[in-house]
C-alpha cells in the first residue's frame, strides 16, 4: 500500500504544479478588473478593464482615425479612446476587456489593445468537473483492488459444515 500512496502523491503534486502554472498565466495575461474598481483606484500603469460597450456610443472615425466609445459597468460609465487596427471584437452591446491606461487630463481610458471576454470561469469549471471525478474514480478503483488482494490472501477457503 505504501507504493500506492506514493504514486498518488506524485499525481497530486503534478496536478498542483500544473494548476499553479495555469494560475500564473491567468495573472499574467488574462486577469481584469471591473470598471467601478478601476474608477476608484485610477491606476497609473496599464490594466485590463472589463465592461460592456454602450449601445449607440460607438464612433468609428474612419480609416486610421481613433475610435471612441463608452464602456459601462454596473452603473458607472467611462469613455474610451482607442487607437490601432480596427479590432474584430469591438461591437455595440458587447462585453469587452480593454487593455489601457487612465488619462487624468481628458478623463478617459486610452487603449491600444481590445480583447474579448476571457470567460475563464467556464474553463476552470470544465476542467474541474473532468479531472477531479476522474482522479477520484481511478483512485477508488485502485485502492479497492489493492485491498481486495489483501483480503483474498487472508481469507480462508470456505468449507461447508458437513465436511468439517
Amino acid at each position: 500500500m505504501k507504493r500506492f500512496y506514493l504514486r498518488w502523491g506524485g499525481v497530486l503534486v503534478i496536478g498542483v504544479i500544473i494548476c499553479l502554472f495555469g494560475l500564473a498565466r491567468y495573472q499574467r495575461e488574462v486577469s481584469h478588473i471591473p470598471i467601478e474598481k478601476f474608477l476608484d483606484e485610477k491606476p497609473t500603469r496599464a490594466v485590463r478593464v472589463l465592461g460592456m460597450v454602450v449601445g449607440g456610443s460607438l464612433n468609428r472615425g474612419g480609416a486610421g482615425e481613433p475610435i471612441q466609445f463608452t464602456l459601462s459597468g454596473t452603473g458607472a460609465q467611462v469613455p474610451v479612446y482607442y487607437q490601432g487596427e480596427d479590432p474584430e471584437n469591438l461591437r455595440e452591446l458587447k462585453k469587452l476587456v480593454i487593455y489601457g491606461r487612465w488619462n487624468p487630463e481628458e478623463q478617459r481610458i486610452e487603449s491600444e489593445t481590445i480583447l474579448g471576454v476571457p470567460n475563464y470561469g467556464f474553463v476552470s469549471w470544465a476542467y474541474l468537473v473532468t479531472l477531479i471525478p476522474m482522479t477520484l474514480f481511478l483512485f477508488n478503483m485502485e485502492r479497492k483492488v489493492a485491498l481486495l488482494y489483501i483480503m483474498i490472501k487472508e481469507e480462508k477457503v470456505y468449507q461447508s459444515e458437513e465436511s468439517a
Partner: protein, 151 residues
C-alpha cells in the same frame, strides 16, 4: 421455404446498413430539421405565421443595427440564396457578430420580419490563434452556408 441461417444474417445486416444509409444520405436527411433556412422561411404560407421555429443563417456584413439606449437590434440573416430581416430584443450572445453563423428562435410574421427572443451562435469547426487569422490563413471547413443546406 427454408432460408439458410447465414443467408438470413447477411440479409438482415444488409437491411440494417441500408436503413442507416437511408437515414444518412436518403431524401430523409434534408427534412430532419433542428432549424430551417431563410429560403424555406420566405416560402411559408400564412398558416405558419406566428408559430415558433428556429432559423439558421449567416449574419450579413454591415446589416447589424442597434437601436440606441435599448436592447433591440436588427440584422439580416442569409443562407446564400435568400435573406430575411430579423428583429431581436435581449442580450445577444458573446460570439454573435456579423459574418458568422447564428440560429435564431422566434416566429415569422406577416410583416416579413422574423421576430426573435433568443439567439444562439453557431460556430465553424476551425480553431486557430488570432495572429494566424489576421495573417489571412484559412483551415479546411465545411462552411456555415454549406452546413445549413446539407447536400
Amino acid at each position: 421455404m427454408r432460408l439458410g441461417r447465414k443467408t438470413g444474417i447477411v440479409f438482415s445486416i444488409s437491411l440494417i446498413v441500408f436503413g442507416l444509409g437511408y437515414l444518412a444520405y436518403g431524401n430523409f436527411g434534408k427534412n430532419l430539421v433542428y432549424f430551417v433556412t431563410p429560403s424555406e422561411v420566405v416560402t411559408f404560407e400564412s398558416d405558419r405565421y406566428g408559430r415558433k421555429i428556429r432559423v439558421a443563417g449567416m449574419v450579413v456584413q454591415a446589416s447589424l443595427k442597434v437601436v440606441p439606449n435599448t436592447l433591440k437590434i436588427t440584422f439580416d440573416l442569409t443562407d446564400g440564396a435568400e435573406t430575411i430581416p430579423v428583429a431581436f430584443e435581449g442580450v445577444p450572445p458573446d460570439l454573435f457578430k456579423e459574418g458568422t453563423g447564428a440560429v435564431v428562435e422566434g416566429f415569422w410574421d406577416a410583416d416579413g420580419v422574423f421576430h426573435s427572443h433568443m439567439i444562439m451562435a453557431k460556430h465553424e469547426e476551425d480553431y486557430m490563434p488570432i495572429e494566424m487569422k489576421n495573417a489571412g490563413m484559412t483551415l479546411p471547413t465545411k462552411g456555415i452556408i454549406k452546413t445549413l443546406q446539407v447536400k
